[in-house]
């Protein structure tokens, strides 16, 4: 990743996420297929909801014949972390028009959010709509194509897991997390490691009481607060640093 903020660079930067999307898209499509959801509904779901884990939740709740209100509430909770990500990106696009902000926000995902955070570290903390739109649209189209293709061919490859493709998205998050920790030089690596370690420990404790998707939101908020507190304490007593 370099400092180029053109649309072309956006497409180039988003390409590695294609592997993750194809892996998860295929996994999702197989679940949808076995739940009796056809390719057109899968396409609509991917285009309208456009959120990996929420689509899994939606599908499994449909299969369990949950009421619509419960499904919408669960999807809202699973996706609540998106508000945190939007809030984090938005200050860098404050100077752009409201329309640009809404367009970028509409297609923001975990992946393009993390990419933009990585990107900021090599562009002197600037982002441009051209780069963001290209990355967002690239991810959007790959996701739609991967889920529909998966729904069409899913029944033909019953053992897609054997190829390890479903792990692509986890590996991608590992890469994005590590790159974020080494390229965000506003803090030392050890500080980033401290925050990441605290959050992971919190996840273990929280998942005793709530499912993982909810725990992600709570652990992130607590982790940020703890990070703020630690930084504040160190400023108060620099000699103990």
């Amino acid at each position: 990743m370099d400092s180029d903020l053109s649309a072309k660079a956006g497409l180039k930067d988003v390409m590695p996420t294609a592997f993750g999307y194809i892996g998860v898209g295929l996994a999702f499509a197989i679940v949808a297929h076995t739940s009796g959801i056809g390719p057109i509904m899968v396409l609509l779901m991917s285009l309208i909801v456009y959120a990996g884990s929420a689509q899994f939740v939606l599908t499994s709740m449909l299969l369990a014949a949950s009421p619509v209100s419960a499904i919408v509430a669960s999807v809202f909770l699973v996706n609540a972390r998106m508000a945190l990500m939007s809030m984090t990106v938005a200050p860098y696009l404050k100077k752009e028009s409201l329309t640009q902000n809404i367009l970028i926000g509409s297609l923001l995902t975990d992946e393009t959010f993390a990419l933009s955070m990585n990107k900021l570290n090599v562009t002197h903390r600037t982002l441009r709509p051209a780069w963001f739109h290209a990355a967002n649209l690239g991810a959007y189209l790959i996701w739609a194509a991967a889920t529909v293709a998966g729904d069409l061919v899913g029944s033909l490859i019953p053992d897609a897991k054997a190829f390890g493709l479903d792990f692509a998205v986890v590996a991608m998050f590992i890469g994005l997390l590590y790159l974020q920790m080494v390229t965000d030089r506003s803090r030392r690596f050890s500080r980033h490691l401290e925050v990441a370690g605290t959050v992971m420990l919190l996840m273990f404790v929280l998942m005793r009481f709530m499912p993982g998707n909810t725990a992600i939101l709570v652990a992130t908020v607590l982790g940020c607060l703890i990070g703020m507190a630690l930084e504040h304490l160190r400023k108060e007593a620099p000699t103990h640093d």
């Binding site: 938005a90 692509a168 991608m172 992130t220």
Partner: protein, 109 residues
């Protein structure tokens, strides 16, 4: 469930998700963020990615402690090493997928 009801469900879920995505952009555009909030937000990228990663390493059991997702954890180790050495997203993903295929082939999961 009929396709009509399914479509309504999809539209409502889409609306809820869209509001979550867009509202912060509109709010930030309209208001000046206080310093403490900016400081809070500066921790979000590492915190949220670490949380997403941790969730993949754990298995949730309602009413009990989570257990380790052994195959994901085993495949994560080479991926972490690949990330450190290559600093490339693509290399990390390819190594991770290959590691997972190997873990399953060897029956370690």
């Amino acid at each position: 469930m009929t396709d009509g009801k399914l479509l309504v469900t999809i539209l409502l879920c889409g609306l809820a998700t869209w509001l979550l995505r867009v509202t912060p952009f509109v709010l930030v555009k309209a208001a000046r963020l206080p310093k403490w909030l900016l400081s809070f937000l500066s921790f979000v990228p590492v915190a949220i990615l670490a949380a997403i990663f941790a969730e993949e390493l754990l298995v949730y059991h309602p009413g009990a402690w989570p257990t380790l997702n052994v195959e994901n954890t085993l495949a994560a180790l080479p991926a972490i090493v690949a990330a450190i050495i290559s600093k490339s997203l693509l290399v990390t993903v390819v190594v991770g997928v290959a590691a997972m295929a190997a873990v399953r082939l060897l029956g370690w999961g």
